[in-house]
């Protein structure tokens, strides 16, 4: 079934059918009804490819998710803390606004090619990218793509420098400096001085910012950072387990630990438990993300809540605005975060005092 047949059956021309389909004003109600009747009778839907080829948009947005896991790690499936909530929110909001959403997972820099490919093939009108590391591939894409682009978790200054001259980009980041400040302040105000950090990857913007702000806030409080309290977890469970185990072996533990995401916080808590070290009695642990699991583990994790749903919504709205061109070249949003106090933090040496 194609528009030509609809035209024939309705006794009009293809152009008129097209005008009805696109809600043109210059078609009288009578003609419109006549055509619509045939259209719905035959369940006609216009062929999207023909439509796009003739100059219309695809009404499709691409969502590109960078995995923190390598291609061969089966853990990636359940592990990626933001994947579920974020994808669902984008799909939700996108569908609601009449967009189709195309999803693609990127496991390594080489996969980045796929992003550009998807644009070049004209499969999508605009894209949302989340969680990418800084590397040449992604920079190259940012500098070449002219379609509207939303990037979540990336350095706005860098984008300003490299973006295409007629590109349209929206950058959305959580307010991680505030988030980390609240973590440090919370610990300091309850008496902690020996505070460590489980770092993410600093090739990632959020990874870098959280680490950087930790340094700054500790300095602000006049507390020196001890190197042996700061370990690399790469946002990932296995790495964190190794690092924490090593820390325990060495025997010098801080009284509190801030993890740059929940997955690492949870991994640390688990290792501590296995070694008979109690959270929060022996050591306090703060996470980051407020993933669905955080509120449900034992002890319930104190963590910084990132508003993934609102970020996703904002991303879709930004896409929509940019596609309609109702926007400036580069827009930045900083999303508020919030420390959620639960059970994994206490004053230092709670246990000793209890004895």
């Amino acid at each position: 079934m194609k528009s030509e047949e609809i035209a024939r059956l309705a006794g009009v021309s293809r152009s008129t059918v097209s005008r009805v389909l696109n809600n043109y004003s210059n078609v009288p109600e009578k003609t419109r009804e006549k055509v619509m009747k045939v259209i719905s009778e035959y369940d006609f839907e216009p062929n999207i490819s023909a439509r796009v080829l003739a100059g219309k948009g695809t009404d499709t947005i691409g969502l590109f998710l960078f995995s923190v896991y390598g291609k061969r790690n089966p853990l990636r499936v359940y592990g990626n803390s933001y994947f579920g909530p974020f994808v669902e929110a984008v799909v939700d909001t996108g569908n609601y606004k009449g967009y189709y959403v195309l999803i693609h997972t990127i496991y390594d820099p080489h996969d980045c090619r796929r992003i550009q490919q998807t644009f070049l093939q004209k499969r999508i009108d605009a894209g949302i990218i989340i969680g990418t590391e800084r590397n040449e591939e992604i920079r190259s894409i940012i500098s070449k793509i002219n379609n509207p682009l939303v990037i979540v978790d990336y350095d706005p200054d860098e984008i300003k420098q490299i973006m295409a001259p007629d590109g349209k980009i929206t950058v959305i980041n959580p307010d991680d400096r505030k988030g980390i400040d609240e973590c440090v302040d919370e610990l300091v105000s309850s008496g902690h001085k020996e505070i460590g950090l489980i770092e993410g990857r600093d090739t990632t913007y959020s990874g870098f910012v959280r680490k950087d702000e930790f340094r700054k806030r500790m300095e602000f409080h006049g507390i020196p950072i001890k190197k042996e309290y700061c370990v690399k977890g790469d946002f990932v469970k296995s790495k964190t387990e190794n690092a924490i185990t090593k820390m325990i072996k060495i025997g010098k533990l801080p009284t509190a630990l801030i993890a740059c995401n929940d997955e690492m916080a949870l991994a640390a808590v688990e290792v501590f438990k296995r070694h008979g070290i109690k959270v929060p009695e022996d050591i306090s642990v703060i996470g980051y993300d407020d993933s669905p699991i955080a509120s449900v583990v034992d002890p319930k994790l104190t963590t910084v809540k990132i508003p993934f749903y609102r970020i996703a919504q904002k991303a879709v709205v930004a896409v929509s605005d940019m596609v309609k061109d109702a926007t400036t070249r580069l827009t930045e949003y900083m999303m508020d975060v919030e420390l959620i106090r639960r059970e994994s933090c206490a004053e230092p040496f709670t246990r000793r005092r209890q004895v």
Copy 2:
């Protein structure tokens, strides 16, 4: 940039460029190289719409997820237990096999129209549908669509009857009869006789089968089912909380409860906790799904593991086979499930004996 320009720059015709693009055998290595050089130099990618219009496939599969939540329920975001793992697995496997995947969430029967629309607009070559209720809308779609279709969680017999004469459908279901049997057997063998069920929705195939098999297996063991032990949770937290609260108010509790998904099991455990009823000492609870949260709550939930990742993989492989036409009209798969014993089950009256 279009193939015509590539042709001009390479000093060949558009057809030759097309032949190179599509890996036709009858183009000599020398010509191929010459063309490829220009193609990569200009980052050329063929316009997908033109390609599709000329008769090629879209290389895109549609994934349609039915939410167990209504459109207006904000909880749907984090609540949908299978959403995260399943989507990630489909995207993963699909991308790996060279497919793009288009995701759409369906909140009510009326949204079903979108599925047909997506096919009719020729956006996708094939589709995967998961979690649909039985209703006229979905039946109508199944009976009309000629593209390859994978349906997860649906009655195979019904599909056989209604599917389009030249449709190709693969149905994939978890072996829920086995799953429920194992739950009941486990409880019975540890001494339970007062066993209740938290039902899902029986408009859903899995909801129906699990409930139906519960009845059968209880009968098999010669244990009468008490109506007051069986409540409707509709696969959803809020409904379950109400039902369990009511059950507690009435005061007649079973010694064990099987929930038709983890979300309901978790909701029940929570309500029990709030009322000072201990799991598993006072009442045993078994879940269903083995969602990521199940292994991490307190007490760790005994549950039936559904192999979502393998189901998703199988779905994508089936799609791929059907698109290549290497398959029969209707294929059925039953995926093995497994009872995962954790901490939420015990013999009845553990507490009393402890005292």
